[in-house]
């Protein structure tokens, strides 16, 4: 069960950090008029289509002692990022990026532009408009982004294997351990972990859909219906 806690810790860290990165990134992607914006949109969507091994391979090169990030880390802390929990978080941020950003973009873009205009003519600057109007109206999207990046990171396998390897208590996540158990024909233990992961993932998603439905009814639907 150590691997389960490790996975949950990793998923929680990634979901939290991704929200901090995702809010400004999604705001910019939703509202900027920059003509080369599509370029960044493609980069954000890239992890959706790349095989995790490709992503993991380049993440390993970047985080390793000769990679740019790894070298910098090495200079600061005396060890590289490959095969560490921190390295795993960084690689997972990349891997789950579209899940943490795209629901936010969709939410921001679905807000009636007239509400933003109303906020401006009532004297609110961009920051106040974001905090008082955009964010509260995007709560279902924020929840979706957090939960999807959490669940997606929880079930991550290929990237972890490439970047983290298989160090017990440090980088051996639950999906790696399941793989290990199956390899050594311990089907009972594998089933125990796999089933737990299944239940946790299902419970998390059920909460999202349940809450989203309720929120939408309270906040969104009456307003859309007008």
């Amino acid at each position: 069960m150590e691997s389960m806690w490790l996975s949950l810790r990793l998923a929680a860290c990634v979901a939290g950090l991704l929200l901090l990165i995702g809010l400004p990134l999604a705001y910019w992607l939703a509202f900027s008029n920059w003509r080369w914006k599509f370029f960044l949109e493609a980069v954000v969507a890239l992890p959706l289509v790349l095989p995790p091994t490709v992503l993991g391979f380049y993440a390993l090169l970047a985080l390793g002692p000769r990679g740019p990030l790894g070298a910098l880390w090495n200079a600061l802390f005396g060890h590289s990022l490959a095969f560490t929990f921190t390295g795993l978080i960084l690689a997972s941020l990349l891997y789950s990026l579209p899940f943490g950003v795209q629901p936010l973009i969709a939410s921001f873009e679905s807000i009636d532009p007239k509400l933003l205009a109303a906020s401006a003519v009532l004297g609110a600057g961009k920051w106040r408009t974001f905090i008082r109007v955009i964010l509260p109206l995007s709560l279902p999207g924020v929840l979706t982004a957090v939960v999807l990046s959490f669940a997606h990171t929880l079930g991550e396998f290929g990237v972890v294997l490439m970047v983290g390897g298989n160090l017990s208590g440090i980088t051996r996540t639950v999906s790696i351990e399941i793989y290990d158990r199956v390899q050594s024909l311990e089907y009972g233990a594998a089933n125990e972990l796999a089933f737990t992961l299944l239940i946790v993932s299902f419970a998390v998603l059920a909460v999202v859909y349940g809450v989203n439905r309720r929120v939408r009814r309270q906040v969104w639907m009456p307003w859309i219906a007008q």
Partner: protein, 365 residues
């Protein structure tokens, strides 16, 4: 103390979906009501967006008294949040996640909570919706929403008020009640209020100074009935409720009488003298309500245009009947149901129509 709003802007709107006309407007809005009237797509909302700072015109200057809000030459563009120009949208744009009171206090940051609340309740009382303070916008009626939207805009003590068809869909009684509240509010402050509408009925109800706009330009301005009862452009005539728009050519001018004759497809009409020469193509606009219908040939009338025709259709239109009458050219006339009964008007019946010369208006384009 209060400043007039001076607008002098040009703007080419580009891109798919937006009309490609040039906004080319020179206008002064004095304190008090000014109605901006015009057909849909005339550029009315675009102009309001420019005044509020939501759109940046290509060129020109928008100033409030001596203070420039926009000046292309001096590169001045005041952001909308710093203009103190209140704007009530057609969709009202109340924040759906905030209560009525929170909507109203939104424009009052920096005040203490108690001060915000007392100001909000005061203005909500002025618009007779103080009892709704704790409701969400989804829980109040259309008319109440419109009052709340007005209150939310006015609580900020704006220097200009822009209203983009804020009262559409309300019945006449409710509309005039809200407008009375607005007049009361502005009596003490006297700021310029620009009220956009494409509804002729609203213009009649407000009876204020009217500025008519079409295809991005100011077409006429003046007192409401003068502007709208003699529209000089076809699209404006349609918007102002002229059912008959008939194309024809000028036959001759009788300058001594101040009239000229216009030949339509089949019949001739006597119309007021306009800027036209014999042979010119013109359009004549006539309100359906300005055409008299007679069951027999009328005589001894001062009206110069008396035509015989046949009723080809009758449509109910509120308390009236709209008749289509084929006199060679097709005319639409409006009569009350009582009159229709008394005259025995029915499909196919032979009738006479009477049109006074000065009920005919020449329009361009």
């Amino acid at each position: 103390m209060t400043a007039a709003l001076d607008i002098q802007v040009t703007s080419a709107r580009r891109g798919p979906g937006s009309p490609s006309f040039l906004l080319d407007v020179g206008l002064t809005v004095p304190p008090g009501f000014t109605i901006l009237f015009g057909p849909s797509g005339a550029g009315k909302s675009t102009l309001l967006d420019c005044i509020a700072g939501l759109l940046r015109p290509d060129d020109g200057r928008i100033a409030l008294g001596s203070e420039a809000l926009f000046d292309s030459k001096q590169r001045i563009f005041v952001e909308p949040q710093h203009r103190r120009v209140a704007y009530v949208f057609q969709s009202l744009a109340l924040f759906p996640h905030l209560t009525v009171e929170q909507n109203v206090t939104y424009g009052l940051p920096g005040l203490s909570a108690a001060e915000q609340q007392s100001r909000a309740l005061e203005i909500l009382e002025g618009f007779h919706v103080a009892g709704l303070a704790s409701r969400k916008p989804a829980e109040i009626s259309g008319g109440e929403k419109q009052r709340v939207a007005l209150a939310r805009s006015l609580v900020t003590n704006p220097r200009v008020l822009l209203l983009d068809e804020p009262l559409t869909g309300l019945d006449a009684g409710l509309k005039s009640a809200i407008l009375d509240d607005l007049r009361t509010w502005n009596a003490a402050r006297s700021i310029p209020i620009l009220y956009v509408t494409h509804s002729r009925d609203e213009v009649d109800a407000l009876s204020e100074r009217v500025v008519a706009m079409d295809q991005g330009k100011i077409v006429t301005e003046g007192v409401s009935h003068l502007v709208l009862d003699a529209p000089r452009r076809r699209r404006l005539a349609v918007a102002a409720g002229f059912e008959n728009l008939l194309a024809g050519s000028v036959v001759d001018l009788r300058e001594a009488d101040g009239v000229m004759r216009v030949r339509l497809k089949q019949v001739e009409l006597e119309v007021p003298l306009g800027h036209a020469l014999p042979g010119d193509q013109v359009r004549v606009a006539i309100r359906a309500g300005d055409i008299l219908v007679a069951a027999e040939r009328p005589h001894g009338l001062s009206a110069r245009n008396v035509l015989e025709g046949r009723i080809t259709s009758l449509d109910e239109r509120g308390p009236f009947l709209l008749l289509r009458i084929d006199c060679g050219d097709l005319f639409q006339a409006q009569v009350t149901r009582g009159a229709a009964r008394a005259l025995g008007l029915a499909l196919g019946a032979s009738v006479w129509i009477v049109v006074k010369t000065y009920s005919c208006h020449l329009v361009q384009g």
